[in-house]
Amino acid sequence: MSRRRLAAMASSTLALASSQATAQVQPAAQSDDDLGVQRDNLRRNREQLQKVKLPMETEPAFMFKA
């Protein structure tokens, strides 16, 4: 079974919110503020990436190999 399939299975089964979760975990409500911070991060990252110019022939590292 591939890791992709493992992750997909786990996400889709989600029979998972269980009593085993400890009381130490705080309930976390959605926060517009946090979403805003993360969207800002995304935008800032995009701007930084755009600043670097690449030759047109540079291909992405899709099949990444070290």
Partner: protein
């Protein structure tokens, strides 16, 4: 029944196995001793996710049988270890440190667990981590199913993430070594914060089959242990090709200290600014001393700089894009809201909005990073830098506090898939700090040799937290 003193729990792998071979204690007694300690002390640090007492005793019993027949499979035979709880162990919960997955059970062991079992290693427990390895960008150390993982050197401080429990448990002598994983910094950071030795292998050297995927093109699994030598023995077992892992490089690793280069043959590059302005003031004396020790090893130290590229933006974009796909259902079902850290929840939700062109740009830039590092390694063997610019954060404070210089070699090295080792090099106040050495792909033997030489000249890796 053997009587184990406190110091015993900080022994190296070879010391522990020598005791079994000399019949001072059995593997079963050793496993019981570490598990008792894990059970008793582990909760003090929120390091333990799950104790595996019964299977561990069975495995240790088998190892004892092999020892009796003088059948020695590996330096890890009969030695207990822990695994970050994002690595599957068949029939037991693998929670990924996250409430939505708290009851998740897989039918198969991860490849690394299988490899270790075959050589007689004894898995005694699953160890805590930052929920979903922190890919969403968490803000507090409490972003974990077990709560904030505390640093044995100072329980008001964090153990580091995301392999928090692995770092904390090794540092506290709850396990002799542990499996961690790194997407960008998750082995090196807790190793540095907790004063232990951590090895991030080359991307693709160790199979990730059966481990939670956070980023297919960045995830690595590696050892967190007491010494560089221990890391070598562990990597020898866990490395190797695996057709079940699409990212596998299909290569083996043989720990070969007998062929280690002499230090005088090595050229080590460093950027002097990393050791001054690049670290907080209190840590500078320790890093200056580390530099002096490295120079004293006889290596040729030369100045080297990594190119000025937006490494953090690149790695964040790649993780967000890949994680966004991996956890698409978690967001769609709303289960993401059960996570502990609001910033992390928001990060995972926003990851659904990453533009394809940004991901592609980051992946194209990655080619550039690889080329630049290849050029750097034409002239030098290893890069040296502080592992982190400051010691462990306070648990009570947000992790994005200002005033801590970034450590660009961590995202840069991960983007290029390079191996690295974190070596404890001193204290800042009462907290450990560490250097990192980074090598070209598949240069782990060189890294370990240099780490071993450093540890032959220092005793920071032997220091232990106050009881």
């Amino acid at each position: 029944m053997a009587n184990f003193e406190d110091d015993f729990f900080f022994s190296s792998l070879s010391e522990l196995q020598a005791g079994i071979k000399a019949r001072k204690y059995s593997a079963v007694e050793l496993a019981r001793a570490f598990m008792d300690r894990l059970e008793k002390i582990g909760p003090r640090y929120n390091a333990l996710a799950l104790l595996l007492r019964e299977p561990a005793i069975r495995a240790a019993h088998d190892a004892d049988g092999d020892f009796l027949r003088d059948r020695i499979r590996s330096p890890l035979q009969g030695i207990p270890y822990g695994a970050k709880d994002l690595i599957s162990v068949a029939g037991n919960p693998t929670t990924w440190g996250a409430k939505p997955y708290a009851a998740q059970v897989f039918e198969q062991d991860a490849t690394v667990i299988k490899r270790l079992a075959k050589t007689g290693a004894v898995l005694v427990g699953k160890l805590s981590l930052i929920e979903l390895a922190g890919g969403g960008g968490y803000r507090f150390a409490a972003a974990s199913l077990q709560g904030p993982c505390l640093n044995p050197w100072d329980r008001t401080r964090w153990a580091g993430g995301s392999s928090s429990g692995s770092g904390s448990a090794v540092a506290a002598g709850l396990v002799p070594w542990a499996l961690g994983s790194e997407t960008s910094g998750s082995i090196l950071t807790p190793s540095a914060f907790c004063g232990i030795t951590g090895l991030r292998p080359t991307y693709g050297l160790v199979s990730r089959h059966g481990a939670m995927a956070l980023s297919w093109t960045l995830d690595k699994i590696g050892p967190m242990a007491r010494t560089a030598e221990d890391c070598g023995h562990i990597l020898d077992i866990i490395a190797g090709g695996d057709s079940e892992d699409p990212g596998s490089a299909g290569k083996r690793f043989y720990y070969a200290p007998q062929f280690a280069p002499e230090m005088k043959e090595l050229t080590v590059g460093f950027n002097p600014a990393d050791f001054s302005d690049g670290v907080i003031t209190e840590a500078r004396p320790a890093f200056a001393e580390a530099l002096r020790v490295v120079r004293g090893l006889g290596v040729k130290l030369v100045e080297a700089k990594i190119p000025d590229l937006p490494y953090s933006a690149m790695v964040s974009t790649i993780i967000a894009a890949e994680m966004g796909s991996i956890f698409e259902d978690l967001v769609a079902t709303g289960k993401v809201d059960e996570l502990a850290d609001r910033r992390q929840i928001a990060g995972i939700k926003v990851s659904q909005e990453v533009l394809a062109k940004d991901y592609l740009k980051a992946m194209r830039l990655r080619r550039l990073v690889q080329k630049e590092f290849a050029k750097i390694f034409l002239d030098i063997d290893l890069l040296l830098a502080p592992a982190r610019s400051a010691p462990a954060n306070r648990v009570s404070e947000p992790l994005d506090r200002p005033g801590v210089p970034p450590t660009p070699l961590i995202p840069a090295g991960n983007l290029a898939g390079l191996p690295a080792i974190s070596l404890p090099c001193g204290l800042a106040g009462n907290l450990p700090v560490a250097i990192q050495l980074v090598g070209e792909p598949f240069s782990e033997n060189k890294l370990i040799a240099a780490g071993k030489a450093f540890q032959a000249s220092t005793d920071w890796h032997k220091r232990r937290p106050p009881a």
